[in-house]
Amino acid sequence: MAELATAPGAGVNKEIKRERTFVVTMKRLLKNKLAVAGLIIIVLQIGMAIFAPLITFHDPVKQDINASELPVFSEDHWLGTDNYGRDVWSRIVYGARISLVVGLIAVTLGLIGGTILGMLGGYYKKLDGIIMRIVDLLFSFPGILLAMLIIAILGTSLVNVAIAISIWSIPTCARIVRGSVLSIKEKEYVMAMKSLGASDLRIMFKHILPNAFAPIIVFATMRMATAILSTASLSYLGLGAQPPTPEWGAMISQGQAFMWSSPHLTIIPGIAIMLTVFAFNVVGDGLRDAIDPNMDI
């Protein structure tokens, strides 16, 4: 009984080494080179958004008809100007504020909605049928119509746009979560929690959800792109960001008319979105690995 005898009555006051989950996760994340690249991009973008006035030299909505559609690397406008003579760099920088926020809100709300639906459907067999039908309904319902409906009810605003877009992610997210929940709820540790008398809520949110994170993270990061691009199609219908607000999706859809004369008007916001997508995806992948305690990095 050698082991039983070890450290009898060890003092409670003794310092126990503990690393914060966040710190551990970050440490693990930072070992992943691609994820670090992504993190840097995200941090830069957030920095861009926060310090927009400091790193731009033009008002993003200030027009100069005489200097319109300047190409990239023009004097005074290194990313050129749009057809109103507005500085593209300033618009990209200020646009980060809106696009990132709208993207994040949309994805987050979609995740919350989808996760709740998926969780309930996966966990409660009785609710599953009806929830999956709702999900099917959302799936097959045209997004544009849904957005119009929501904005008709809630009014035009960026937040409502984000809400409308978030609803597009709900069905996919719900399916993903449901799938994970179905398999996780059969795991022994869930059974163990049940045997300890844990409530359903505790099991769902403390024990199932954290273990269903991996596919959710992957989905969420992929969704960022779609969300930002969706604002473009909504602004095309006059439902998105209102001009002259600089917003990447709207910039792309406005620049569409100038694809021939000034392709940079679509390419530059396109690159901005692509970088964001890339960054969020690689960070997402990295995060998935980093939060997986079983994964050796």
């Binding site: 039908r133 799936f139 691009l229 997508v277």
Partner: protein, 313 residues
């Protein structure tokens, strides 16, 4: 199998019912008046009133919806407010185009997606993997109109290899196939990217499976290990993605159809929405939903072939 199909049919009815109600109420609540879309900006109030009366738009919501449902139960999808055309007919003109496009782009997507995903997984963490991942992410974030216009510029206008737009010729002719190439690539890229990512992660999982080791222990050749013992298993989750994407594509894709002047369901629907042509919107949404359910059903049936463990009672 039959019982599953029957069950799905009941679900479909439920689904269509819900959808038609949602569509109806959203069209009803959204701003915009079908009459003024028909009358145009020049119409006077009396013109509009006459149009509204004629379309029954002055009835209460429930009466309108009830009438619509009554029509549906008699197998009548109604008539367009705008063109007075039968909705069923309007859809039947567009759907073959959408279907052609959806199939063609799914073929593109599946070929590119599986290939890229396989390379990624087999050369895990190599530069090929990074390239293919970057391609996938790019594919997701490239706006369709941009890619489409670019392809037109390069292949149709400058090189003159392919026609700019349209989908007039039958698909089995050389001309018809040529017309399909660019839109299929434009549309397929996004799905290809998703499939590639799915194939990659699924393959990475499957190559570690015990039965793959068993195959190697039998002395199976490496190529066969990949194609026979791994890919079929790895395809199981990929099928869902393909199915969902295909379902979405069958609903028509507004931008690609617009850029390539393809007379498809997506355009029909968006035009109908813009024109507040309720019956047309209803009809096309119901079609899309039905197709979605059908595709899901097919996916489930395909599952039983790919994965013998799945059986339907």
């Amino acid at each position: 199998m039959i019982s599953m199909i029957v069950r799905r049919f009941f679900q479909l009815v439920f689904l269509l019912f819900g959808i038609s109600f949602l569509v109806f109420s959203s069209m009803y609540l959204a701003p915009g008046d079908p009459a003024s879309m028909i009358g145009g900006p020049t119409a006077t109030e009396s013109d509009l009133e006459a149009i509204r009366d004629n379309l029954g738009l002055n009835d209460s919501f429930l009466t309108q919806y009830g009438n619509y449902l009554a029509g549906i139960f008699q197998g009548d999808l109604g008539y367009s407010y705008q063109t007075k055309q039968s909705v069923a007919e309007a859809i039947s003109i567009r759907f073959p185009n959408t279907f052609k496009l959806a199939v063609a782009s799914m073929i593109v997507a599946v070929i590119i997606g599986i290939f890229a995903g396989l390379i990624s997984a087999l050369k895990h963490n190599s530069w090929l993997d990074v390239t293919s991942t970057t391609f996938a992410l790019g594919g997701i974030s490239i706006p369709n109109f941009w890619l489409g216009s670019l392809l037109i510029l390069v292949f149709s206008v400058n090189l003159q290899w392919l026609p700019v737009a349209g989908l007039a010729d039958p698909w089995y002719t050389v001309e018809g196939m040529k017309q399909l190439i660019l839109p299929a690539i434009t549309l397929g890229t996004g799905s290809a990217a998703m499939i590639a990512r799915m194939v990659r992660s699924s393959m990475l999982e499957v190559v570690r499976a015990d039965y793959v080791r068993t195959a190697r222990a039998k002395g199976v050749k490496e190529g066969q290990v990949i194609w026979i013992h791994t890919l079929k298993n790895a395809m199981i989750p990929v099928i869902t993605v393909i199915g969902l994407n295909f379902g979405a594509l069958l609903g028509g894709t507004i931008i690609t159809e617009k850029v390539f002047a393809i007379n498809g369901v997506g355009r029909l629907m968006i035009d109908a929405i813009a024109a507040r042509d309720f019956p047309m919107v209803q009809g096309s949404v119901l079609l899309v939903a039905t197709l979605f359910v059908l595709v899901n059903l097919i996916v489930d049936i395909v599952y039983t072939y790919v994965d013998p463990r799945i059986k339907f009672q």
